[in-house]
Symmetry: C2
Subunit: 284 residues, 2 copies
């Protein structure tokens, strides 16, 4: 793990690291904001943020305006990359497939399977790297107090990985998530390339199906959605609502007039998400 | 004035405009954050933020994390570009001269004079555009309640333009400003190209000289400087302190251990700057 950047930020530090990711067979970068408490070596709760299409490990750190409150709440913030990267890594000319568009699944198709194992990377490899290297609190069951949130493609990642691995993630929230990737153009394109043409195989990675399959897993889920979102037709928040209703999973789904899909929207509500995770992680 | 982007952000709006700048003979973009009060058409105080080398009108809006508090304080935030731009505009291969590096002066040298009139652009043309188009409060003397702040090259711009035009700017602050451009490599390079080789002509644009010449103009100046600033040798905060001491200009110059030159530093102290301007502008 190589330290690339370190910036004092409020009483904590915003850092960026590079490491070799075995699961992805390439080097990966990630960001970590360490609040003052973590710098002193004291155990903190943590939230992993999964970013959207075209974003990198720096996007959230620069644009989401989360560090001040994270420091106050003693929250470590982890920001992974959004796909495997590098000259040797399969890519596509369009921005919604390939590098920058890993969709947080394990690819099964020959062209993509070698590098595109983002589910394993986030939930196993990076997860282990984080708990080995940063002071993350555990609960009485010795589960790490780690939450998961994300935006757009990363909102799909957060919801789907949280329901796949509820023993690893104790809280979940999302901004404008892709709630039903099996039935939207972005998801159909990515899943057909990464997972093949059998749509039944897609449902295991589609939150609107996963939640029904797995049932209630979290005390509550927080999701914010702008009503002027230019990608609204890709997102299907109603499918998330239906799935949660069907299994009795509490969901706070808030619609916000005038807000769009970008980080000016995210910064406007990031405080509520950090508090949501801090409260849920504190309680577990 | 053409609206390019509009984003709901907290209860206000982050906007970006393009207009033809007569003084620069090119099209220019600028950002404006309008708090809720301004959106309702009620008069607000305003602060113009001048960015540093290589930055654009978007940098502060994305990275400084100022909008939430600006909305609470009823402050309009204006973010101009950092130089004239375009294919027809003189440029240099290096990032510290030409496009992105206008240094907020009026160039006198033949190669640069046609477009590089940033002093006139900021203090006259853009200033007028802003007061004509946004609800800016005035005081009893019918002076606009507009403050000026900036970072690095833009900190030089803020300090120098504020002391050149104290009737236009009622408050001033800076992050890691270039306090004595006449004696640092960045300033020597830019001033020799834009203003010529006569160093006497440079002093009229050098805050460490200007302040001595103009005397006390503001109730107080706020300047923050990181002690791990990688460009510290370019900045000469001691020259600013000396000039202010010599003429009795109150200066709050704060040094911060561990902080560097970038926006993780700026976001950590932006709240104090916004409050500084709000208080000073409220009082005038």
């Amino acid at each position: 793990m190589e330290l690339l950047q370190k910036h004092h930020c409020f009483a904590g530090e915003q850092r960026f690291y590079r490491h070799h990711a075995k699961s992805l067979q390439c080097d990966m970068k990630f960001g970590v904001y360490l609040p003052e408490k973590a710098l002193k070596g004291q155990d903190c709760t943590a939230v992993i943020y999964l970013a959207g299409l075209t974003c990198t490990e720096e996007t959230f750190a620069i644009k989401a305006h989360a560090q001040q409150l994270a420091n106050e709440l003693d929250l470590i913030l982890i920001t992974p990359g959004t796909s495997p990267r590098g000259e040797d890594v399969m890519d596509d000319a369009h921005w919604d497939l390939g590098q920058g568009a890993g969709f947080y699944v394990n690819a099964t198709q020959p062209l993509w399977a070698k590098h595109y194992q983002m589910q394993t990377y986030i939930a196993d490899e990076l997860y282990q790297l984080i708990v080995d290297n940063f002071p993350i609190a555990t609960n009485q069951d010795v589960k790490y107090k780690i939450g998961l949130m994300g935006h757009s493609m990363g909102g799909h990642g957060a919801l789907s990985l949280a329901f796949k691995f509820p023993e690893k993630f104790q809280s979940v929230s999302a901004f404008a998530p892709i709630c039903a990737p099996s039935i939207c153009p972005w998801g159909e394109k990515a899943f057909s390339h990464y997972l093949g043409m059998d749509q039944q195989a897609w449902f295991a990675h589609d939150s609107s199906h996963l939640i029904i399959e797995r049932g209630k897993q979290f005390p509550n889920i927080l999701v914010d959605q702008g009503l002027d979102d230019q990608f609204y037709s890709q997102l299907h928040p109603e499918k998330l609502q239906q799935a949660c209703d069907q299994v009795g999973q509490n969901l706070t789904l808030r619609f916000h007039e005038g807000f769009d899909h970008g980080y000016y929207f995210i910064q406007s509500f990031i405080a509520d998400h950090l508090r949501h995770h801090a409260e849920q992680l504190h309680g577990v």
